[in-house]
């Protein structure tokens, strides 16, 4: 049998190297190379350390044994051409273990990933989040803030404030990636993807597109003449200052189209049933009755007035029947396209009342 001293020495060396590799990955200074800008980044890096440590250990073992066997069992001049190697066909014990151990490893890895997955994914976004939208264009980004008219070209995030970020696109698929945030979401036209995170480290970060989007894909990153916008994580005070300044600067921009019929619509006596049939004919081409993220042209309207994840309407106003009516009446120049106004949609005030009643009935 060939399990001689040489073999065990090699095994010892391999195990030693494996341990070194594992410790290297445990203490690797990831942060100094890649700062962790949001709360999630730390956990994702932990997962990465685990993967890298186990992966490197496996590589050390496999490659180490290959190299040892290559050296140890090479054909020597003393061999006659008819010599044959060790005639072993299999070893069920060995095969059992090297099936079972990877299986157990996979179980652990899956458990870790699933657990982390549920912390990252916006399965249920908490209430007091700041809802921001990031929109992809060929080849730059714009952002929408509640209460700020129009779209801004720079993204500022208040430190420590939970963020719900909705990303979508105007033209082709882009993607939203800030390496320091370890988070990525594709910006798919007709679909709204959501990222939930809390900024934890002030600074100026690069925003990159990782989904191929055409000619200037390579220029769709912060700092290029094409898309100078960076992402800033500011202390609350600094953020407030920026927010107010931008709000004033954009005040002149109106999201509304010229008001159709002066004065607010009275919503009394709105008939949900009538609203439903009206919705099918007038609205269903652009709005699904599915959840907010189920976008056709505009967002899905399921629970538009009752969705804690979306306390604000797309124009930043609080989601109340009156504000919904205001949008129906005046139309809205939205990030996802244009919502026609009352006359363009051919809606009477009564229709609006019915529609609002219907939308209000969606929970």
């Amino acid at each position: 049998m060939h399990l001689d001293r040489g073999f065990w020495t090699a095994t010892a060396v391999i195990v030693l190297l494996g341990i070194v590799a594992i410790f290297w990955w445990i203490y690797a200074p990831i942060q100094s190379i890649m700062p962790e800008a949001v709360d999630r980044a730390r956990q994702i890096d932990l997962l990465y350390r685990f993967l890298a440590a186990s992966g490197t250990a496996l590589l050390v073992a496999v490659i180490g044994y290959i190299l040892y066997f290559v050296f140890r069992f090479r054909k020597r001049p003393t061999h006659s051409p008819d010599d044959i190697g060790l005639q072993i066909h299999d070893n069920h014990k060995l095969e059992f273990w090297w099936t079972l151990i990877p299986a157990m490893y996979i179980v652990v890895l899956a458990a870790i990933s699933v657990n982390l997955f549920f912390q990252i994914e916006p399965v249920n976004a908490q209430g007091n989040t700041l809802v921001i939208e990031a929109l992809g264009h060929q080849w730059y980004y714009t952002f929408r803030y509640p209460g700020i008219n129009g779209e801004v070209k720079e993204m500022h995030l208040p430190l420590g404030q939970p963020i719900t970020l909705h990303v979508s696109s105007y033209d082709v698929i882009h993607s939203f990636w800030v390496p320091e945030m370890r988070l990525k979401a594709d910006m798919v036209p007709g679909l709204i993807n959501t990222l939930v995170f809390t900024p934890t480290r002030p600074g100026k970060y690069e925003l990159l597109c990782t989904e191929f989007c055409g000619t200037l894909h390579g220029d769709m990153r912060s700092g290029t003449p094409n898309d100078p916008a960076y992402i800033y994580i500011d202390p609350p005070g600094k953020y407030k200052a920026w927010y107010d300044a931008t709000q004033r600067a954009n005040a002149h921009m109106s999201n509304a189209i010229a008001v159709a019929s002066a004065g607010a619509v009275s919503l009394t006596g709105g008939d949900a049933a009538a609203g439903k049939s009206l919705f099918q004919t007038k609205c269903s081409a652009c709005h699904a009755l599915g959840p907010f993220t189920q976008k056709i042209v505009g967002p899905g309207l399921k629970g538009v007035l009752h969705d804690p994840a979306h306390p604000n309407l797309v124009n930043g106003d609080k989601a109340t029947p009156d504000d919904v009516a205001k949008i129906l009446q005046n139309g809205f120049n939205g990030p996802m396209g244009t919502m026609p106004n009352q006359t363009a949609n051919g809606l009477t005030d009564k229709d609006i009342a019915n529609l609002v009643a219907f939308l209000n009935s969606l929970k």
């Binding site: 069992f73 072993i88 090297w98 099936t99 994914e121 698929i173 390496p179 798919v188």
Partner: protein
């Protein structure tokens, strides 16, 4: 005429008459060996084209601000590089090429089940290739080999031509798959049970259904994209109610199994080469064979792991993540079995053996990073970066292509009756190892540091590493060119090989090289697996193969 007398008249004894005219012999041949060589040569040509494109990419990336090509040219170039390498080099090389050449002989058949179909599927290949490259002239496709809509809806007219070309290629692959599957199921020599089949045959046997089923699904996706582009049928256009994600589902349902189409035959190849040059049986024959089946089946259930950032339902992502991780188990079993096959052997480091060992190392690296990417939270960071590029180049350039090169050096005598030049072969191996690792290893950390893929220009902080990669990529190209030159040179000047230069034990080595049009004078009968080096060869009825007794006469009908 003792030979003629033994005809049972069955399909096994059905022999094509020897082709006379040059046209029937080398061009429109129905002989699986000639067709295999035709595939290999055509793939070689396409590989040089795609390799040239790859070098253009690397030259462009030498400088952070590019300037070598316009961005649009660059996009067209990497699109063509990917499409060519996947559909016109690796897949046809491993299945149509070496599959056709070797596996019918290894199961003791005289040809595949449907020789004419075989010829048709070959001739589809160059035609489709010409169509693909003609799309350069009509506004090349620029959306990458994945052609995600709506981007691919913006692409030039060439994108539709791209659809047509790949669709046509798909038809060829499907026919090949059907052909191989029936051949292996029905035309094995007497006594060639499934557990006695050489592992290369197992590789083809598992790949064939993937070719047959997955490729058809791709055909559907391409047809849908084509009608969307040409007739505006809104499958994928979000402004008309279509869904961009639908394409990703349809495309990856093919393209993930395609990854296994590209690697399973290579598994089979090195499973032939290791025992031959270690002079010992493959370790865990059954486990290697069955793990291939497991990989093939799982391969159909994991396509959406390419879409973790695309915005699927979160609840959908989890099963895909777990199933993807499961694939690591059968793959690990294979890797461990091959490593153990080296244990206690008498290893002879011929060029095929070197390439196989290289395969084992590089593929393991690619496999490990594959497990990384299966974990959704990590994929959220690495998706669409150079980490991905590194991962699949380690699997395809380090796995599939390395297996193919090993197979080329290994089976070259069976094509030409001559050996390839060994010392040049060893040079090409070392150059390949150096170039390959130097090119793709740095991409791992480049990706994690924030370099997205498919960038024509990039952040200057990454320029140094990119220059290093580019220089190494030239080494890799040099190695490939050396191998190609070696192959051409050896046709005439290589040293005569004789029937069995490697003293291998599978059936193809028991007949003369190059293999005669009728393969066997008598169809052999098999009574054991081929890997018992202690035993005499487990075949009966091969006595006359290497004598100059008359060739068998075609059965009269």
């Amino acid at each position: 005429m003792a030979v003629a007398a033994v005809h049972s008249g069955g399909i096994a004894d059905h022999i094509h008459p020897e082709p006379e005219s040059f046209l029937r012999k080398y061009v429109f041949s129905i002989d699986h060996k000639i067709i295999g060589i035709q595939y290999i040569v055509t793939c070689g040509i396409f590989m040089m084209l795609a390799g040239a494109l790859a070098e253009l990419i690397r030259v462009q990336l030498m400088r952070a601000n590019g300037g070598f090509m316009t961005p649009d040219t660059y996009n067209a170039v990497f699109t063509m590089h990917g499409s060519t390498m996947v559909w016109f080099v690796i897949i046809p090389l491993l299945t149509g090429g070496f599959g056709n050449l070797i596996f019918p002989v290894q199961i003791g058949a005289r040809d595949v089940a449907f020789p004419w179909l075989n010829m048709v599927s070959y001739w589809i290949f160059p035609v489709a290739g010409l169509m693909l490259y003609s799309s350069f002239l009509m506004g090349a496709p620029v959306a990458g080999w994945t052609e995600y809509p709506p981007m691919s809806l913006q692409g030039g007219a060439g994108t539709s031509m791209w659809c047509a070309a790949v669709f046509l290629m798909g038809i060829g692959s499907t026919l090949t798959g059907i052909n191989f599957l029936v051949t292996i199921l029905k035309m094995r020599a007497p006594g060639m049970t499934f557990t006695r089949m050489p592992l290369f045959v197992w590789g083809q046997f598992v790949t064939a259904p993937l070719l047959m089923i997955a490729t058809t699904a791709l055909g559907a996706a391409l047809a849908a994209l084509f009608v969307q582009r040409e007739f505006g049928v809104p499958f994928f256009d979000p402004t008309k109610g279509g869904s961009p994600l639908l394409w990703q589902h349809m495309f990856w349902f093919y393209s993930h199994p395609a990854v296994y189409i590209m690697i399973l035959p290579a598994f089979g190849m090195i499973s032939e080469i290791f025992p031959t040059f270690a002079r010992k049986p493959i370790f865990g024959y059954k486990m290697i064979a069955f793990s291939s089946c497991a990989i093939a089946i799982l391969g159909f259930m994991v396509w959406a792991h390419h879409m973790f950032t695309s915005g699927m339902a979160p609840t959908l992502e989890l099963p895909f993540m777990v199933l993807t991780m499961l694939i690591a188990i059968p793959t690990g079993v294979k890797i461990f079995s091959w490593t153990t096959t080296l244990f206690g052997g008498i290893l002879e480091f011929t060029t095929p053996m070197l390439y196989s060992i290289g395969f084992l190392i590089l593929f393991t690296i690619g496999g490990v990073t594959g497990v990384f990417l299966a974990a959704v939270p990590f994929d959220l960071h690495a998706h669409g970066t150079y980490f991905i590029v590194a991962h699949f180049h380690y699997v395809i350039a380090g796995g599939s292509l390395m297996g193919a090169l090993a197979a080329l050096y290994f089976w070259y005598p069976k094509m030409t009756g001559r050996m390839m030049n060994e010392s040049w072969g060893k040079w090409s191996f070392w150059l390949y190892m150096i170039g390959m690792n130097g090119t793709f290893l740095p991409m791992h950390w480049l990706g994690l540091w924030g370099m997205p893929r498919r960038y024509a220009v990039y952040d200057p902080q990454f320029q140094t590493w990119n220059q290093i990669e580019s220089w190494f990529s030239f080494v890799m190209t040099a190695s490939i060119l050396l191998t190609i030159f070696n192959a051409i040179w050896s046709i005439k000047y290589g040293k005569k090989s004789g029937a069995n230069p490697w003293r291998a034990r599978t059936l193809e080595w028991q007949i003369p090289s190059p293999m005669p049009y009728y393969n066997f004078k008598h169809v052999p009968s098999v009574f054991a697996a081929p890997y018992d080096f202690a035993e005499p060869l487990p075949y009966r009825g091969l006595e006359e193969e290497l004598t100059d007794s008359p060739p068998p006469v075609p059965a009269a009908h």
